[in-house]
């Protein structure tokens, strides 16, 4: 589908028609916190935001979700699966870094042992990405990991703000279906517009991630991790705000005769995450846990799933870490270490 445009005023109308047919989810502000949540009308949305605090990953892999309810009637036990969604959804305003994270999470949840809850939410959701404003936030570094803030890749529709209109690139059938829903509101671009209605190029500092994985893997025994983990407090913020983290815990709430099995987010940074009942812990101190987190992102995830690095440069962990452990600093330190190419 070729590029179209929509006026800023018509955008609201389009989203309202969508809200009539789908569950519309978009960025809203609540007590200073930007979050993605269901809205009845486009008026509740906000457009002044860089990104949400809790990533839209929470809409596919929620902080807490019920897997099934169990009830004991006499001798029998009945299990009742929980339906993940009541209605098809449209997510408006997702940034490209989060779109990129979803494709990474797909590799985890939709492998041969497919997670049906995640899969259903992914299938019944249409993504309307919103290109990041320029200049990008100074903390963002998504281009380092091949994320292009202006590309529709991975989403169904990309809207790009070029002054008084939005450029509309629908790249999938689901995207086209949505555009068809508001057919009167879109207009094709004239030749002239095609040329000058271009978003300004994104200039963002690039981190050097050449051979990051190989240099990292050489540091398994290095005492760098000891020093890096000193300010780390072992709280769970970096993993809970990270769009590519997918660790979770499963626990039963209720009694042996009546209750629910929940899945909820968990963090590899918690001291008892891998603690075994025998008392042994493969990652007993913060040093091992910090090392494990960066190895997962830059070594084990790419080698296991054959993808790029499991980081999309959204900088959420950077901004919110109370101890000031900065992933960009770690990347710089590792790439400063002697790599294969400079030997």
């Amino acid at each position: 589908m070729d590029r179209k445009k929509i006026s800023k005023a018509d955008l609201g109308r389009w989203l309202d028609t969508i809200a009539g047919k789908y569950e519309l989810i978009g960025p809203t502000e609540d007590e200073g916190i930007i979050q993605f949540g269901p809205v009845q009308s486009s008026a509740e949305l906000t457009l002044e935001y860089a990104n949400s605090l809790i990533p839209p990953k929470s809409l596919f892999f929620p902080p807490v979700e019920s897997l099934f309810a169990f009830r004991k009637r006499g001798e029998e036990i009945q299990l009742e699966e929980t339906k993940p969604l009541q209605q098809d959804r449209v997510i408006f305003g997702i940034r490209n870094c989060d779109v990129g994270s979803l494709s990474l999470l797909d590799r985890v949840f939709c492998d041969d042992l497919e997670d049906s809850y995640y899969r259903e939410r992914r299938e019944r959701t249409t993504l309307i990405a919103l290109a990041c404003p320029t200049p990008p936030r100074s903390s963002c570094f998504c281009t380092t990991f091949g994320i292009d803030p202006l590309s529709p890749a991975g989403s169904d529709i990309l809207l790009t703000d070029v002054g008084d209109v939005y450029l509309v690139d629908a790249v999938t059938d689901k995207g086209e279906e949505l555009v068809a829903l508001g057919e009167g509101l879109f207009a094709p671009l004239t030749e002239g517009e095609e040329k000058e209605l271009q978003p300004p190029p994104v200039d963002m500092p690039q981190l050097d991630v050449r051979e990051l994985r190989e240099r990292l893997e050489a540091l398994w025994e290095d005492e760098y991790w000891e020093k890096l983990s000193l300010p780390c407090l072992g709280c769970g913020i970096c993993t809970y705000v990270c769009p590519t983290c997918h660790c979770f815990d499963i626990s039963d709430v209720g009694s042996t005769s009546d209750g629910v099995r929940y899945r909820c987010w968990d963090s590899c940074m918690y001291s008892d995450f891998a603690l075994m009942v025998s008392g042994e812990n493969p990652r007993p101190t913060k040093r091992e846990r910090t090392r494990n987190r960066y190895f997962h992102k830059f070594s084990t995830f790419p080698s296991r799933y054959g993808t790029g690095y499991a980081c999309v440069g959204c900088a959420r962990c950077l901004v919110h870490c109370p101890g000031g452990v900065e992933i960009t600093e770690v990347i710089k330190d590792i790439s400063a270490k002697e790599g294969v190419s400079d030997r």
Binding site: I77, F248, I250, R261, P282, H296
Partner: protein, 278 residues
Amino acid sequence: MTANIYLPSIATVREVRPETPDTSTYVVSFDDPQLRESFAYEPGQFAELSIFGVGECPIGIASSPTREGLLEFCVRAVGTVTDALHDLEVGDKLGVRGPLGNSWPTTEIEGKDLLFIGGGIGLPPLRSLIQYVLDNRDRYGAVQIVYGARSPQDLVYKEELKEWEDLPDVDFHVTVDAGDDTWDGAVGFVPPFLKDINPSPTNKVAFTCGPPIMIKLVVEALEEMGYADADIITTLEMKMKCGVGKCGRCNIGDKYICRDGPVFSFEELRSIPGALEV
């Protein structure tokens, strides 16, 4: 596996056999007859057992697929879920989710001589392979079994051990760390006991499972005897939760023990940094 990888199937406890003061064997079978037939698993795989309202925990399937119908789990009461398992009586219901993980390399070791070294409650995962080998005896070479436990009543499958001892084509050895007046067999830890037996490494694959400290010493002993890393195979015991390679707990290197294991050869383990520290 049902479409929903987290949904257990309901099974009933058919038989409870106390093995040691804190370990019992639970024989279960699925309520759904259709599932009872279709539930195909390989020796060495495990399943997640659910006590609803308490939780789930991964337990190795101790029976062999060659013996139909019933699944056997050998459970020691160490944690909240295993404690709850120990409160089950015949006829009680529980959840079973699986089969999960990889399995012993039953085809690659065809024609080879086999050496099984088990320690305490490490025997059940080996037993599923031993039964499989005994039920397909002609596909495999000589069978040697070396098993040890802390004390005579800590030995599991006491009757079956006697059966194996009487089998003509099985070289069976058993020891206990500390004997008592009811015990007339060998006394001593498994690693030195194994060194005295000194089984030759030619055309042989060794399978070992038991407490980490025993595995470490057994592997050293085997290497002294000339066994190649590729021919020493074990099953790792790590903290597992989802059992389907997603919850991020049981990773060593880029492998998830619940998906790429729990069965590994020592050659694989040597290549993964930090795998052997555990």
